[in-house]
């Protein structure tokens, strides 16, 4: 029996196990929305206030669930509004399928109403993209889109479907057998070399990234650390893979990493980098970063090997399976001397980095939220100082419980991400740390959270400035605060109340406790605005292209 292209899209979504879609209706996707209406018992669609919010929600949903996130938007502005979200997913290797409508095929290229060449626009920020001009190809393209998004190194795929293709009829045939996942071949030699390097080294350091999280390889990672008696540090994207309290875990390394983690890393003679791409924010000066050490790089993407940091040995493949094999082949090691040295460095942490315990500041605030939040809570952030403080002070205990914009650094990511995270985590309590700068970018999505009564606890660190930029202006631009002091008069309590959410304002630790109790007991979204000093800094800080020797501990 022949069905319409739009119905076919729904069938493929169901085939792929999709039950949640984020998006925004419009002229070029009316047919798809009509089919969504009929399938509303099987696929729940969440309409956001802006397509960008939907794209971040799909991205976060994918990170929290490990499934492919789906976002749907109309042609032209609908499609271009997805661009930041797609780029964000690309930089953080998050698997999403973006479906856009387009004008009918005969109208393409005529600058028709709401026409945009979205495949052209998104080419550099997708793993692959398609425009489907023949309905007979629609099913295979959509299936392939899901496979590409989820396989190998995950990432976004966009499928652009002109309106007449949605209306055209074709046969639906159920999926053929699933494609075999790509097998990665490492020469036997690579494992032999890796085992040799690890056995012979004196001071190993395991550096884990987002790939460990997306590969669900926490157990294998810890097994490796135990077997070779090594400390673990993490990139920001790698946070949550290892419980913050784990005795081997030193915390985040990099520009705003933990002092101890950065110090231990600099002392190491072997760096075992797992599922990470050595971003400039993580390494600082790349020559100094690897001075005196060899690097073993484990990643699923062969092009990451030696892209930023030269690898001595590389193991290509899914982190989980590579680690399993590696752990099996490794003899157990005992490195008592190194262990003692690591503990010494860990305990010699600089007192100047501690913020006062008896006042409301980023550290006490985030730690208080941490105490109140349930264990199975997902924590999201926007981008800026509050994001780094969250990465530094929040004790993540469960993989996939930290959702943040790493590579692209997208201010405005947070609200959409919190919505997607909450829905991906069975509508459980979800925390969003945000700031006055980031929240203003996409605060409209608070409306969406209210519509669906999502239990979000939005903690807004208000310092009336673009704090991270101000910090750089203080340190590197002679305190010339060009356009970062925000003369905004927003009353956040009234604002979110107008949207239908609950708002509270705190300026002391005493006020914070009851506010948090109320917020975590609430059914719907709550915003807590917390006053923060505008000269509070994110420390330590290794300046751009700097080394551990340049680390700033007190500004």
């Amino acid at each position: 029996m022949k069905i319409k292209g739009a119905e076919l899209i729904i069938r493929i979504l169901l085939e792929k196990g999709v039950d949640t879609v984020f998006g925004y209706p419009g002229g070029a996707v009316l047919n798809i929305y009509d089919e969504l209406y009929k399938a509303s018992d099987r696929i729940k669609h969440y309409t956001t206030c802006h397509e960008q919010g939907a794209s971040h929600a799909a991205d976060a949903y994918a990170r929290v669930t490990g499934k492919v996130g789906v976002v749907l938007a109309t042609s032209g502005p609908g499609a271009t509004n997805l661009v930041t979200g797609i780029a964000n997913a690309y930089l953080d290797s998050s698997p999403i399928v973006a479906i856009t409508g387009n004008v009918a095929c005969p109208a393409i290229g005529k600058d028709s109403f709401q026409e945009v060449d979205i495949t052209g626009v998104t080419m550099p920020i997708t793993k692959h993209n398609y425009i489907v001009k023949d309905v007979s190809r629609l099913a295979s393209v959509l299936r392939e889109a899901f496979d590409i998004a989820a396989s190998g190194r995950p990432g976004p795929v966009l499928v652009d479907i002109p309106k007449d293709v949605q209306q055209a009829e074709c046969e639906y045939e159920p999926a053929e057998d699933a494609v075999e996942p790509q097998q990665y071949r490492n020469g036997k030699e690579a494992f032999v070399q890796a085992v040799k390097l690890i056995s012979e080294c004196k001071r190993p350091f395991i550096y884990t990234g987002g790939g460990t999280v997306s590969s669900n390889a926490s157990k294998e990672l810890l097994a490796l650390a135990e077997k070779i008696d090594s400390p673990i540090g993490s990139s920001m994207m790698g946070l949550s893979a290892v419980s913050h309290d784990h005795p081997r875990f030193l915390g985040m390394t990099g520009m705003h990493g933990k002092l101890a983690a950065s110090r231990v890393l600099s002392e190491a003679d072997l760096l075992i980098a797992i599922g990470t791409r050595f971003s400039d924010r993580a390494t600082g000066n790349k020559v100094e970063y690897i001075k005196g050490k060899k690097v073993i790089h484990i990643d699923i993407d062969p092009s990451e090997i030696s892209k930023n940091i030269p690898a001595f040995v590389s193991l290509i493949g899914d982190v989980k399976s590579v680690l399993k094999k590696l752990v099996n082949e490794l003899p157990p090691c005992d490195r008592r001397d190194w262990h003692q040295e690591v503990e010494k460095i860990r305990n010699s942490s600089d007192r100047r980095l501690e913020m006062p315990k008896d006042e409301l500041n980023p550290q006490t605030l985030i730690q208080a939220v941490n105490r109140h939040a349930p264990k199975d809570c997902v924590v999201c952030t926007d981008v800026g100082q509050h994001q780094m403080w969250t990465a530094q002070y929040y004790k993540f205990s469960k993989p996939r419980s930290f959702v943040t914009s790493g590579g692209l650094g997208t201010m405005g990511f947070g609200m959409g991400a919190a919505i997607g995270s909450c829905l991906g985590n069975d509508r459980k309590k979800t925390v969003l740390f945000t700031s006055d700068g980031s929240f203003h970018m996409n605060m409209n999505e608070m409306v969406t959270a209210v519509s669906h009564q999502l239990p979000l606890v939005v903690v807004l660190l208000n310092n009336n400035t673009l704090g991270m930029v101000r910090q750089w202006q203080t340190l590197f631009f002679g305190c010339r605060y060009s356009n970062t002091s925000l003369e905004r008069r927003t009353d956040y309590v009234k604002l979110v109340e107008a949207f239908g959410a609950t708002g509270m304002r705190v300026s002391t630790l005493e006020e914070l406790e009851p506010a948090l109790e109320k917020a975590f007991a609430a059914k719907g979204p709550v915003l807590i605005e917390a006053a923060i000093d505008q000269d509070e800094k994110v420390l330590p800080m290794i300046p751009p292209d700097g080394t551990i020797k340049d680390i700033i501990l007190k500004a």
């Binding site: 495949t119 080419m123 550099p124 793993k127 590409i148 993407d301 092009s303």
Partner: protein, 170 residues
């Protein structure tokens, strides 16, 4: 060829937009590209792109690995400096009268070029060969005054029975 130049042969799906995907990868990742030529192969579903690029070993390896990630790219091969037949075609138009053509036909014969169009006021020449030969011919013609010139970019194939076929597994 300069020492940091290399030739890549790339088999791609013969589909709309593939050339853009390949060329935009070069600009996005700041790779240097000297020439690019493309055409369909004996299999109408597959096109072959020949790229002359520049860079050190690190850049070379990055270009190959990044190209291999493109979904429409079926195979990337670094062509060996020796054992590869390399050809480029150049068309050159000289707007010169019959009287000023002395010496021109001799050069055409020496370089084994061809006259492909001839009028009272113009001569159009075609030359095919390795780039150094084409360059030498073009340099020689400058004295006559080149009115228009176009080059196809290099295309290349290995000597001997070895062929470039998409991997069965891809």
């Amino acid at each position: 060829m300069n020492s940091d130049e290399f030739i890549l042969s790339i088999l791609v799906n013969n589909e709309a937009g593939v050339l853009t995907r390949v060329s935009s990868l070069f600009s996005r990742r700041a790779f240097n590209i000297d020439s690019l030529s493309v055409g369909v192969t004996d299999d109408p579903k597959i096109s072959r792109i020949t790229i002359v690029a520049r860079g050190d070993d690190h850049v070379k390896s990055q270009i190959i690995l990044q190209l291999e990630k493109l979904h429409d790219v079926k195979k990337v091969e670094l062509m060996p400096q020796t054992g590869t037949v390399m050809r480029e075609l150049v068309l050159i138009k000289l707007n010169i009268s019959q009287e000023s053509r002395a010496g021109l036909m001799e050069a055409v014969s020496v370089f084994r070029a061809k006259v492909v169009d001839l009028t009272n006021d113009s001569v159009t020449l075609e030359i095919t060969g390795e780039r150094s030969k084409c360059n030498a011919f073009v340099e020689y013609l400058r004295a006559f005054g080149i009115a228009e010139l176009c080059r196809t970019g290099l295309t290349a194939i290995t000597r001997g029975p070895k062929t470039l076929k998409p991997d069965a597994s891809v």
